[in-house]
Symmetry: C2
Subunit: 164 residues, 2 copies
């Protein structure tokens, strides 16, 4: 039914009136650099187990976007990062996700696989395993990072027009 | 309990294993200009009924951030807007919200109160009813808009350091 004052169909409990609002999810992550190399994580879990991704995951309750991105780098790559600025906001409406991707750098080069990673690595740009990236937005983030790595004043990117 | 592969307490159904992940919510909105004036909406609903706000609200499922911000301006002010760029990302961890605020302009000056607004108005900067703004982030968005209204290349703002 459409709750009073609303304009969309929602699941509403006929007994108590509880409205089960379903909301898009926020993914926070980062493109993390160390001396020109970029941190990638090989996924140890589905979906896309065995493919490479940027450290990223769901924002938790009571967490800022920046804190969430730093936590994900810690959890997935045991990496201590410093957030520089917002690189991009990608909307993935098919799966109701908004991804906030930051540009960051490693505080020290120590990295190690966390429980969700089979491996972690610092890749030179030329070595990035493009065919083995886990998700399209991983490639978007890497390319947008590359386009602006020596600039600080630019609007954040959104999804590339070509979707690739 | 902590579900397998997770590292935080979640509500889990003992019968079927369903994990009730609770997630932060995404608010999308905009600072909308027309000939130097700024669109504000007087809230017709709680919380903060009678106070002035920027057109903003919860992102819906299967919606991009930009489409959501345009929808909110349409719903709250019957306004047809053109999004220019992302102005700010505010994190409100106390209430588990991330707010994506865009800079936008009216396509035409026709505005009218939608069901959630008592009134809508285009304010000159000097006329903005500062003591009657609905939420702190409304003031943040207005001041960040003002700081950068003649610039296009700047990183999006996050919460002001002073919280005011």
């Amino acid at each position: 039914m459409v709750p009073p004052g609303d304009n969309m169909e929602r699941d509403v409990c006929a007994a108590c009136g509880f409205v089960d609002y379903k909301n898009p999810k926020i993914v926070v992550g980062s493109v993390v650099a160390w001396e020109g190399k970029i941190l990638l994580c090989k996924r140890a879990i589905e979906p896309r187990k065995g493919y490479w991704t940027l450290p990223a995951g769901y924002l938790e309750l009571h967490e800022t976007a920046e804190d969430g991105a730093a936590r994900e780098a810690r959890e997935e790559a045991c990496a201590d990062i410093e957030i520089e600025r917002l690189l991009a906001v990608y909307s993935i409406p098919r799966i109701s996700q908004v991804q906030l991707m930051f540009r960051a750098k490693l505080v020290r080069p120590d990295i190690a696989p966390g429980p969700e990673s089979e491996a972690v690595a610092l890749y030179d740009w030329e070595e990035i395993p493009w065919p083995d990236l886990a998700f399209p937005s991983v490639g978007w983030g890497l390319r947008h990072y590359r386009e602006t790595k020596d600039r600080s004043d630019f609007p954040p990117f959104s999804n590339p027009a070509d979707g690739l």
